[in-house]
Symmetry: D2
Subunit: 107 residues, 4 copies
């Protein structure tokens, strides 16, 4: 499944339930933010080292995958409603970051 | 550029600057959360209707694209470090949501 | 109960359970952020007008009060661990804002 | 300055600038969330140990105090607009937490 496929599927899902009226960019930004908050809660008491093996426990793994899915879903839906190509925007930003943070400054 | 391409590029970017040591899942969750906060700030005083035309103003458009890019970048990087396939996780979640919210309940 | 009283009570609560080791500023910022995410989720689909009467429904009222309590608790605890006086910092910021946003510009 | 004093001052500040129309609970939750995002960004690359001495550097200290002030301001303003007593809500929650997490389970 590509990001485009996911966005088409989410648009159909919203249309079938008449949920487009809730899917304003403002509301979707809040939904994205709420899901990132739930993801954050899963990591808040872990040391950085513990966070690197967070997927080893099956219950925590399921919870992390579920929150990452929700974050991806609302980010994809928000971008679709706004008409923004996320991967193109990200590529443009990485290009700008290559100039802002030249490798030789970090050698 | 696919999500995979973006993740490979971000991994190379981090390696070239020796930034992998900062890129623990815990830190990347915080970076994702910080960027979502900046995105939220762009929408906080807008009405839902105003938020739907947020890209019409060129300066706001650039700011929104920039924050969406940063959110995408940290989400992609976090998933790569964890070894999670975001699109697969999202697809599995949409499948579960189809069962949790059957269309006929919303007709 | 004053903010100082709350902070003393929270410090005692953490000490009695040997939770100070989890209460680094980094972790407490994440806990604060997670609780704000849960608060955000309660408001995400409401219109601004609906959000103004969010306390009228008893179940939603209890949920909103619970999340506001959690946000207050982690903000108070974070400030205590850092040794920051929140009300003094807020007063200093309001003073700066009086200069940044003079009233006559908004008449 | 007490929390009540701060809330009265913030209400006057908003009235003098005719900003009450922006201060719906929904918008204020977003503003709170945005400020917590900025606070998070200041801590994202720090180790937990580094985060404990974050106030030692004068520039970082000023930035952290500024964000804590903004978080306090929007939380106080949100509670005032909703008519919620934050300290009472927090005290009630700590009382519930005393029952949920009895000390002897953590001895």
């Amino acid at each position: 499944m590509t990001l485009d496929d996911l966005q088409r599927r989410l648009a159909g899902f919203a249309t079938a339930r008449d949920w487009q009226r809730f899917h304003t960019p403002k509301n979707l930004v809040m939904a994205l933010s709420g899901e990132v908050g739930e993801l954050t809660a899963l990591f808040q008491w872990l040391t950085p080292a513990e966070s690197a093996s967070v997927l080893e426990d099956p219950a925590t793994r399921a919870a992390v995958l579920d929150e990452l899915a929700d974050v991806t879903i609302y980010l994809a839906r928000l971008a679709d409603v706004l008409g923004v190509d996320l991967l193109e925007a990200a590529e443009a930003k990485v290009n700008r970051n290559e100039s802002r943070f030249p490798v030789d400054r970090f050698d």
